[in-house]
Symmetry: C2
DNA sequence: ATTCGTAATGTTAACGATAACATAATCCGT
DNA sequence: ACGGATTATGTTATCGTTAACATTACGAAT
């Protein structure tokens, strides 16, 4: 039974099905694609034969003719942040329903890699791309070129504005203001900010929000306590160690995201200090671990799954309707108050 | 500056570059692909012009000619389990280096979806697929057909054996035996097993390992305490509630994976019982949350990243070398002893 | 039976790139 | 200066599918 003959490759084409039945490829094509003008008997024979021969349509050829691949490229900075798998989950949900497939690419927070990745996706002629950009330089010309080329592009989470691409983000600046104000209300006299990079949209927006809150409340901040080490746990650890090595350190910390906050918490605790008694800290993202930490981390909840769904839906509308307007959506976040900010049950 | 002319699509082809310079497409093709027999001057002109016109090679057309897409399909059951993003990370690392791109697909633990997904990947003519299967029925004919069709296929984590496909898994059965024995050594008189599904390879192997340990130590187990509710947190919660509703419940629990263990822990604690004082529990996976839980979860560490890398490397070797042998690899795991098993610091 | 209309089927060209073969241009040694 | 070897360039056919046009078949109406 096992191992019939060993043909090198048995990928069946339309033509082979056609010859097997003595009809033309067009008739087979019509039958397979359920187009009109095929005799019922013929159609049944074709369908049976196609099944028997194990015919699978070649989408590569189809794509070449139609200039449509039903494929979407997804560019994310770091797949191991719990935020992004959740976004991908949301994207998947929409794309699956709309019969698109996704190319998932991880740039490791590297803009050069990001460009290469996008170029590769363009070469593969994806119908559109979803990007959370790691751009840190003030040069949007690359994405401007992408937009000009007509490739549908929707940013999510980390956006680049003003180049004619839609964006699904959150109200980062306001959320950052609110969570900073939450710390201010606790009465902490000094607050530091652990940023990833101000070149990245979320880094800039969250820092601005931090400053808004400080200014509104007539507080000043020590520029030494505003540092940029990166967006992951390791960089949070290093950033915090740097701050702790200064002659003075702040009474509270706003971290640009939860991984950074988690790294910082490790640094604080390893230095023999207590959270929130010695240093209070808040994050941003509502990482899956936030509620489990000791103390649990006060943070900003971002609806990752929702962001993924909205971004994918927007992109598909942009692909399928050339008149779909460009828009920037800011989804509301909410503050999740736990223990790390000093809040008592 | 913005909004030059509004051409519908400005995707440049080889031919357009060729006409712009008055040479043939072949010459352009050779120049672009850095092939020999192109005059240096001509080559420079072509490269300049291609860049100026914004030419991007069309991989769809290339793929049609070469029957190679440099694309790998990745089929995973649930992207929100921390295990899988880690695996994907490992896969990404290898594929990026080898210039492949990955189609990421999520089947939501549904075998029907899985088949449709694999069919879609075949239609898109991926060069190979990496699958962690949700197959729960005793019918491997579908994958047998895939293997027979010559499509390179490597399973990871959840394997289907005996059909001629390679597999990168872990020594599930042994690991399960070891962690069960760890509980036995604690002296618990009764142990239950929360399975996902015995139809899935890991469910079967881990259950077998559990039984091995019990038998070896002359213990019996109550079949009522062996339940199958699924592989996620919710099913763990429900499974445990079911067990707790029985007239008697076991002194310790082996969960088929960490999400199930986490759900079960919630159920136990909501029932007013303590872990490990009333019920001890161990998991499997070393989820990112395991060490942060209260109590921290004793579990089996599976090198997810490593599995991803090995699986991707094996698949690429299989794609690029028709004589690459079929092999099943079992990677070693290690037990991470924390508090939920009753261990004291 | 002739003609017309529609349904069924077939043929050709095209999508963009490249392999394989064909030709033109250049170089070199004697 | 000539023939043979290179090197540079061009032409044709092909990958698998489908759009667009062309043809054939068949039933109905007169």
């Amino acid at each position: 039974m096992a191992g019939r003959d060993k043909v090198k490759s048995n990928i069946i084409t339309l033509k082979e099905v056609a010859t097997a039945l003595g009809v033309s490829t067009m008739t087979v094509s019509r039958a397979i694609n359920n187009r009109p003008n095929v005799d019922d008997t013929t159609k049944r024979q074709i369908l049976d034969m196609a099944k028997k021969m194990g015919y699978t349509p070649n989408h590569v050829a189809k794509s070449l003719v139609s200039s449509r691949t039903y494929t979407i490229g997804v560019v994310i900075p770091e797949i191991s942040h719990s935020f992004f798998p959740d976004v991908v989950h949301g994207i998947e949900e929409v794309t699956k329903q709309k019969k698109y497939q996704i190319f998932l690419t991880n740039t490791s927070e590297n803009y050069e890699t990001e460009r290469q990745t996008v170029d590769a996706l363009r070469s593969k002629r994806v119908d559109g791309i979803l990007v959370s950009s790691s751009l840190t330089i003030d040069d949007t010309s690359y994405y401007q070129m992408i937009v000009n080329s007509g490739l549908p592009l929707v940013f999510f989470d980390r956006c680049i504005h003003g180049i004619g691409a839609s964006c699904i983000g959150v109200n980062d600046r306001l959320a950052s203001t609110l969570i900073t104000e939450h710390l201010i209300r606790h009465g902490y006299p000094s607050i530091g900010f652990l940023n990833g990079s101000t070149g990245v949209s979320i880094g800039k927006a969250r820092y601005e929000g931090f400053k808004d809150a400080m200014r509104t409340h007539g507080l000043t901040w020590n520029e030494q306590w505003v540092v940029e080490y990166g967006f992951n746990e390791k960089s949070g650890f290093e950033a915090m160690n740097h701050v702790l090595s200064l002659s003075e350190y702040p009474r509270a910390i706003v971290a640009v995201n939860d991984p950074v906050a988690i790294g910082a918490m490790k640094a604080i605790q390893q230095a023999g200090l207590s959270i929130p008694e010695d240093i209070a800290i808040v994050g941003f993202t509502n990482d899956i671990r936030a509620e489990l930490l000791t103390p649990s981390l006060t943070t900003v909840h971002q609806p990752a799954h929702e962001i993924g769904k909205l971004a994918a839906a927007k992109l598909i509308r942009t692909i399928e309707n050339p008149n779909e307007p460009v828009e920037s959506l800011e989804i509301d976040t909410s503050i999740v108050v736990r223990r790390s900010c000093g809040h008592q049950p």
